[in-house]
Symmetry: C2
Subunit: 244 residues, 2 copies
């Protein structure tokens, strides 16, 4: 699917043009980075959801160091886009914790934190999704794949962006047939208890702050130091997280 086709299809789902811009920009970025499970394939999946295409997120509570948003029926992509734009427009003096309730789906979290880092902010973001990861000992799914994305601005070029899902494969990989459902387990093989613990910890962190529906928690801060160039020098050309 081309960007133009994606745009047409989304307009056909009755999304406004500004919303379509947000969605296409995210899907196209995912395609460029090879994360096709978060790319244009999501549009057919969106068409199966019961959505209010006119819904918009709401800023419920706003302090210097804390914000609470409510998705209010809008797609999680739109919630995070609003939060990123609002944060870049009014960055914290030091740091801010941003909680988003009813924020799903959220796509590739690296995309949102990269934009914050390109605006000069350090950012860490996690989000919950349907429970798909079972305990390594078995039983029902207890946690979503709950990625953690961290982005750090760099004076020498692009931000460094680590974006790690706790699943051995992503739900998106399953969606586009790149992986089987049975491969959706905590990553790490014999160390899977570690990825499981991270998934459970992040799940509960978000749930304790954002409530039982899928949500997101973002931490943004102004950096006081510029550690990426020294790490790149030490890595001597090896691919670092988020490099294309």
């Amino acid at each position: 699917m081309s960007e133009a086709e994606a745009r047409e299809r989304l307009l056909g789902l009755r999304f406004d043009a500004d919303v379509v811009d947000v969605l296409v920009a995210h899907f196209a970025d995912a395609e460029r980075r090879g994360k096709v499970g978060h790319g244009f394939a999501r549009i057919e999946w969106l068409a199966t959801l019961e959505l209010d295409p006119s819904a918009r997120p709401v800023l419920v509570e706003s302090e210097e160091g804390f914000e609470r948003w409510d998705g209010h029926g809008a797609l999680g992509y739109l919630v995070l886009d609003e939060i990123v734009r609002a944060t870049l427009a009014h960055p914290p003096g030091r740091a801010r914790v941003v909680v988003a309730r009813r924020c799903f789906p959220t796509g590739t979290l690296g995309y949102w934190v990269r934009r914050l880092a390109e605006g000069g902010l350090v950012a860490a973001l996690t989000a919950t999704s349907p429970k798909r990861l079972a305990h390594p000992d078995g039983g029902p799914p207890l946690a979503g794949t709950n990625p953690l994305a961290i982005a750090i601005p760099s004076s020498d070029g692009p931000a460094l962006v680590a974006d790690v899902s706790m699943g051995a494969v992503t739900a998106g990989d399953v969606l586009v047939g790149r992986a089987g459902d049975d491969e959706l387990v905590p990553f790490g093989g014999k160390d899977a208890h570690k990825a499981f613990a991270l998934a459970v910890g992040l799940e509960l962190l978000v749930s304790a702050l954002a409530g039982p529906e899928h949500g997101a928690v973002l931490v943004v801060a102004r950096p006081d130091h510029d550690p990426v160039p020294a790490l790149r020098a030490l890595a001597a050309g090896r691919r670092l997280p988020g490099d294309r």
Copy 2:
């Protein structure tokens, strides 16, 4: 080594009694949880460091949503103990980011966030340590084992505490001879690039805020929901992160 012997040895290193209490409480907790690499074995290692036993951490900057501490030559254990006690005494109305520069060693991070959760706060903590994890493709160490610990209070009993180091073994395991130096790689086998990405992301997050010396970043918030009991019910008796 018994607690009494540990106390004697630390007093012999010229630490004050209140400092000895903090150190022994941490080491004893690590021993009880089987994390012996963070237990009493550390005392002989402390004896090899050049330390000012009278050094104390300093609160450098304090706002409702942000604090900056400086270890000021004190052991990281003392810095985190001060931060935990100060945070419990004056918890944030909503959320707070706490940055600690010159904060090493920090021990088992789960110990500090558990205390915050027992005081009713959600907490996430990470800290840097000497670079020991190389890129999965090889080369020099680029990141510490940089654990991430997350604790969530629960109305039905103990807090849930996820405490995950990004190394396949801990530096402490190597210290006490439980593991070889060559096992200190990012965890996850064929998925090691994921643990490596998390280690690098956390390393740079801390470095961007706390500077080039080892530091720590803590996020604390008041929970609005109580998600642990439902997860415990769903887990149906399976061991969850932090359970003894």
